[in-house]
Symmetry: C2
Subunit: 391 residues, 2 copies
């Protein structure tokens, strides 16, 4: 827990760094400052989305990723195509708001997905989608200020008898996921809670934000009431097979917001260390989340041979799909560039020097350890790919 004062300064420090390095940019308006995601912030978002998807869908048994149109017509709606008024209404009332219960958008995929699996339980439906926070409290903070948020949610449909086992398993799995990318894993914790009416078990995964511990993900174990409701509305059975029995499943519901995750990992990553008598800021973003994995340092001066080598390295790494920061014209010394890339959160840097022309040896520097390693140009791609996997 951080005191409000140090909390405010932690946020200020993060805002300053995020503005300087393209994670956010400020739009000054009449009464206030609004922050939008800059190009590096957008890449961080995408990396987080991809990791969530990989963890929740691609590597899981029987989980489908679905997509709903923003103005999706509900099963009971009879217009061919929603009118502008319907879109507007949706934004103000239902689908557009961050959901407090199972989304009709997700449930509209229930029957077709169950059918694809020969009615076998368990299975899951995962979705990412834009929505708008409902409460003022959710709108208040830096990067929360946008009215728009990205929900990442999954409904996992399980036989009632095994629901507790799946609930426990997903709690552990989600907690591992959050900690996996953290510089300080202990900043994440899990607490039992419950919904307002105390009707079903619920846990929150929390992060130690500067303003105090706050929720980043909610996991609930819901009974069959939403599906029974769907049965009544559609007239179609929601029963699935659990071995030889037929049951209406219970639901493990997980939900987090991309904006919460981005902010948590930015705060988690921002650290100050004392290096060579000055205090330096480092953004210790996990390699899987970092917008750029490597920075290529052009070396000072106008040596055309050095320039050719760094051009080659940048092209070589990009071809291998390694996002690479390379600005061919150096304005400052290698040490100044290292400081810059540490703040930017780039995990590795590659520098060339006079010696590289003769031997092909480059210097690969690690952001977190500052250790420099000699690596031959021909080995750079492979070595960085390995480091990225092992991170």
């Amino acid at each position: 827990m951080v005191s409000p004062k140090s909390g405010a300064s932690a946020l200020e420090a993060l805002v300053a760094l995020c503005k300087a390095h393209g994670y956010v940019y400020a739009v000054e308006t009449a009464g206030a400052t609004v922050y939008n995601f800059g190009s590096l912030g957008a890449e961080l978002r995408r990396n987080l989305q991809a990791e969530w998807w990989q963890s929740m869908v691609t590597t899981q048994d029987n989980v489908f990723g679905i997509e709903n149109a923003i103005c999706q017509s509900s099963p009971t709606q009879d217009a061919h195509r929603p009118s502008n008024e319907a879109v507007e209404e949706a934004m103000q009332t239902g689908y557009y708001h961050c959901p407090q219960s199972l989304q009709h958008g997700v449930l509209s995929h229930y029957h077709s997905s169950l059918q694809l699996l020969n009615n076998k339980l368990p299975f899951g439906l995962a979705e990412m989608g834009r929505c708008f926070p409902r409460t003022a409290a959710e709108e208040e903070r830096f990067l929360y200020s946008a009215r728009e948020m990205t929900a990442m949610s999954m409904l996992f449909f399980v036989p009632p008898k095994k629901s507790g086992v799946w609930f426990d398993l997903y709690q552990r799995q989600r907690m591992q996921w959050w900690r996996k990318f953290a510089s300080s894993p202990s900043s994440f914790s899990v607490v039992d809670t419950s919904d307002a009416d105390n009707t079903y078990p619920m846990v929150n995964i929390q992060f130690a934000f500067p303003w105090g511990v706050d929720t980043v993900e909610r996991i609930a174990l819901r009974d069959d009431s939403d599906l029974l409701d769907l049965e009544r509305k559609t007239g179609m059975s929601c029963q699935g097979k659990d071995g030889r029995k037929t049951v209406v499943p219970h639901v493990v519901e997980m939900e987090t917001y991309l904006e919460w995750a981005c902010l948590a990992y930015l705060l988690d990553g921002l650290t100050e260390v004392k290096r060579t008598e000055t205090v330096q800021k480092i953004l210790r973003l996990h390699c899987r989340l970092a917008p750029y994995k490597v920075a290529v340092l052009p070396g000072r001066g106008t040596e055309s041979q050095l320039r050719e080598i760094t051009d080659y390295i940048a092209r070589d790494l990009r071809t291998a799909g390694i996002p690479c920061w390379y600005s061919a014209d150096p304005q400052c010394s290698n040490e100044q560039q290292y400081t810059w890339y540490d703040e930017m959160g780039v995990p590795f840097s590659v520098a060339v020097n006079e010696n590289t022309i003769k031997t092909g040896i480059t210097l690969v520097r690690n952001r977190d350890t500052t250790i420099k390693e000699q690596v031959h140009i021909s080995q750079l791609q492979l070595m960085l790919l390995r480091y990225m996997q092992a991170y």
Copy 2:
């Protein structure tokens, strides 16, 4: 070019197949049928998005991927946070519509991005975002019927002197991209066109849809007028450096819609072949686009040992990040399952049999050639990863 009649039947055949295999699902309403993307369709969309991003951003020099909030405030707007009315107005008037000119959303990233690169040209801004088609013609067709589309666009800012070279280069590159994933690359073509007022060069990339040749991507070479306009509005210089000169750049503008791309590749992939005296449908989706890369066949019967092996294989492949279809309880013969997965567009299948228990040898079948290859379980992961890369 296809006659209207065969065109209609080609679409009907595609709709039937897409419904049967979870690419789309139909919502029957009072007056008409609306199609939404099912779980496999959603995965195809995501794969296409990822390929576009990889090609346009990750592997390119100095291209930033940006994101705009749906209700992003424009630089001239002075409300801290857009009201419901502002959101609604945006949807009806400006940003929400598919753009006919450079988006203010993209241009709001112009100055901060140029600054990150020390004002050096060229550089690009890429964006994916939801929008709504403006004209009735764009709304009419299957899968176009949603009012919502996903634009994938890039603005590449170049020194005026070199604009023609970049325009040509991107035409070639985009054409290669479209053809790379096609089963029949010749279905894609490029034609010179121009905007309504004939003010700047423009080309269209086209695809032979069943209803005739139609545009899937527009590439235009625009002058500096939008940036000069931005200079006037913001009072900030838009000049960048071209070597030692300072210039207001021209813009290569590329734009396509994810829904066009999905439909084109589904139509391109759907083929009929004569196999064992029956005509079989095959969805020849490129391996990079296919929602599932491999299907694991459980083998008939209740042999617990066979079941254990297929369970292991599915888990092993998923761990390696290979999207894998596995429904543990077979309802039908291997041949029937192959037919099913061919229609579903799964490039590879893995089957086990009695022999596998003794030798560990499985049968890997290729969707397009139907050739079966003997592969040891321990080699499956590696072999499929290699096939996927080489595809």
